[in-house]
Symmetry: C2
Subunit: 183 residues, 2 copies
DNA sequence: TTGACAAACGGGGTCCCCCTCCGTATTCAA
DNA sequence: TTGAATACGGAGGGGGACCCCGTTTGTCAA
């Protein structure tokens, strides 16, 4: 599950520098941060950046990979409450996290575009976790019939992308969406 | 309520050409359509485009102004059903419309940025309509206490922007969000 | 240790985009 | 008709994405 082909040490070093620089600049400028500037800050040529990350999506995936993995791990550690509540709680956590990290929502919504197998990972990790929660909730009849994993992920990401930098509003609106608009 | 200062006839003509070209290219390329290309297709210099529309937002507002106005007018013509249902129905209509017209959701989410008084209009028109519907519903206790006009508009637009070109999914997810995820 | 080869690098070029300056052309009111 | 006010657009500065290809740097077998 590691790299398909091990990188040379200089390649590995540059890759890490690029991701670190990207994390910083994406936090400052959002998903549209300049790739040239990221390369400059990482101290590499722009060609090197493009060789390591064939698309902006791929770079964003790499930036957020660890954080998303932690978020997913925490889902497994949830106490086994009522399934729908458990699902709702995790979606809320996801939304707050995504809205807090500029660029992440965009990366998750963008979907696979020029990503190599090991790059597509954030999205898949999240989908896997959600699949489990959704299955558990719907097997007990606790979930609306028409609600798919895709729908819920899209909903959470849409709300997050519209509320970057405002996780509190994002959480409020997600709660509204999970409970419905009636009293 | 017309133009603050009447344009010269050549100015008016060019403005219309620009909006027409923009409508076409935004439909094709989305909200990020090239302004240069729009100017080229309209047969004007790019300076002319920028003079008429100081920002991308302003141009998008102009492109969608008429359509949004019609949508708002239709809200008034709704039969007076149960208020929450009326609100839900119109939000659904809004979402489908927005998801159908590439770039519109982006324009509505972007908010006022460098818009002059007569440019800010789509957003305000929608907000006014929603305010009425929300007030009517909540005065009869048919609306969740924490739900504001801003929340609902944001929710509808977020779903639409995440589902450009897929109005059916947009509608499904909005319905889910309005009724909640439980059965 | 060495040297040949694969792997990775990055300067610099191409093409596109946004935006503005300013000299020129058009309109309109008197 | 005419001259001021208004609008036009070519051209250029500044920046970004992406790629070509000659050069440098690791790696590994001998």
């Amino acid at each position: 599950m590691a790299q398909v082909k091990r990188l040379r040490v200089d390649g590995q070093r540059n890759r890490e520098r690029i991701v670190a620089a990207a994390a910083e600049l994406v936090a400052r400028d959002g998903a549209q941060a300049s790739l040239e500037e990221i390369a400059r800050q990482a101290g590499v040529g722009s060609a090197t950046l493009h060789r390591h990350f064939p698309s902006r999506q791929a770079l964003l995936e790499a930036v957020f990979r660890d954080g998303v993995a932690q978020l997913c791990a925490r889902a497994a550690a949830q106490p086994g409450k009522e399934p729908a509540a458990e699902l709702a709680a995790w979606l809320e956590e996801l939304t707050v996290y995504t809205a807090t990290h500029r660029g992440l929502a965009f990366a998750l919504l963008g979907g696979p575009a020029g990503l190599t197998a090991e790059d597509i990972c954030c999205t898949d990790m999240l989908r896997d976790v959600l699949n489990v929660l959704v299955a558990r909730a719907s097997s007990r009849g606790a979930l609306h019939a028409g609600a798919t994993t895709e729908d819920l992920m899209m909903l959470a990401n849409a709300i997050a992308v519209a509320n970057e930098k405002d996780p509190l509003t994002a959480r409020r609106v997600l709660r509204l969406a999970l409970t419905g608009i009636r009293p």
